[in-house]
Symmetry: C2
Subunit: 236 residues, 2 copies
């Protein structure tokens, strides 16, 4: 319960958690392997060890679930990662596409003391540069009520609250197009069969239309501005 786990172990747990953060199907072995960039066999082995340590639940050929203790560790790592990203952007002038790789290594090297001092210095932020919620030290995670841009119907208005940080190139592209966190968007027209989604970006006079590529629409999450009768999530 106290001696530090290895970097690998920490990354496995974080990745298992991250998978269920925006979907609710649990992660499989091969998905875990893909995300971690290791062979399936490596995952099998590690999952067995994690199970022996009481950090995950797993039956042969089944999906992998975090135990309560595993979740606790995962949230600790997520907190570290996101606070570090915030620090890199706020204090060291990194751009939002550069921070992920750096935080991926630093998260394993910092102490609890470091993390808490850093959090205090940053003003205990509740979200990171990509809009991902930062768990508190006690493991509470701010609830975010947002939907993928790709799931919204025309007419829907909202502000961007999260952008997946998985693809740095996309982040660079979005920065170049001046699309940030808190940018206001209105869905203009939905792709008919496979055509692009059109979105009105920005406020009033400065608004412009923007053709959103599919991959981007999957990565950008929007929180409704008007209470718009709940959320109008599109089918299929």
């Amino acid at each position: 319960m106290k001696s530090r786990l290895s970097s690998s172990t920490e990354d496995y747990l974080k990745t298992i958690y991250a998978f269920t953060e925006w979907q609710d199907t649990p992660i499989t072995s091969s998905q875990l392997a893909t995300r971690l960039g290791v062979a399936n066999s490596s995952v099998s082995e590690m999952v067995r060890k994690l199970k022996d340590m009481g950090l995950v639940d797993h039956r042969p050929y089944g999906a992998v679930h975090l135990t309560e203790e595993g979740l606790r560790v995962a949230l600790t790592m997520v907190r570290r990662h996101r606070l570090l990203e915030t620090f890199l952007v706020n204090d060291l002038g990194y751009s939002w596409d550069e921070v992920h790789v750096e935080a991926e290594r630093l998260e394993h090297a910092v102490s609890d003391l470091f993390v808490e001092r850093l959090a205090a210095r940053l003003g205990n932020p509740e979200r990171d540069p990509h809009g991902d919620p930062i768990p508190s030290a006690s493991g509470d995670i701010p609830r975010i009520d947002a939907h993928r841009l790709s799931e919204l119907d025309p007419g829907h208005e909202g502000t961007i609250t999260r952008i997946s940080d998985e693809n740095p190139e996309m982040l660079r592209y979005l920065a170049h197009e001046r699309i940030h966190l808190d940018t206001e968007v209105t869905v203009v027209r939905r792709k008919p069969f496979g055509g692009p989604l059109v979105v009105r970006v920005g406020q009033h006079g400065a608004a412009r239309d923007f053709d959103v590529p599919d991959e981007v629409a999957e990565a950008v999450w929007v929180e409704s501005t008007r209470e718009h009768a709940g959320c109008t999530v599109g089918g299929s």
Copy 2:
């Protein structure tokens, strides 16, 4: 010449360098083992690998010397370590006895970009919280003209420019006694046979006498205030 070395490798090189920083005898296998907290056999093996990589010179049963390339890496690590310590004290409110352990891990996790951004943010400091000189990015190291307090004759005046960070307890003790970097000291009387060294600490009115334990006198380095005919280094 480019792909990152392992943490262990980096620590070996740093430790080899550090040994010659304040003395000029090269380090032996067993000294290296002691400092790194590993078995002698581990050092033998690693030194062979370092030699194969062209980072150290070594003949069987001889001392270990850094090659030019090894020195370059070592200085990079020393720079990282000391900049990180400075950051921890200046920005995160660590005390000078807490920073060493934290920096020891972080130094292997940060990127070159991180280090240079950090250095810029700190104003490119030339010394760390313990007064240790910080090598420049190009590997130039500020020369410090200081002597151990234990080597000074009575009457010698100067300011403290370095305090060894090896023993956190000593650092805590010195902080408690309000002895810092840049504190002015005058040697009052030298230990007769094994008695304590007496030093006048502080300026003018606020001056007080202080019995310096042997171990402390070895760890504190003083730069002469008056040009005092070079430095009067005591014998034995």
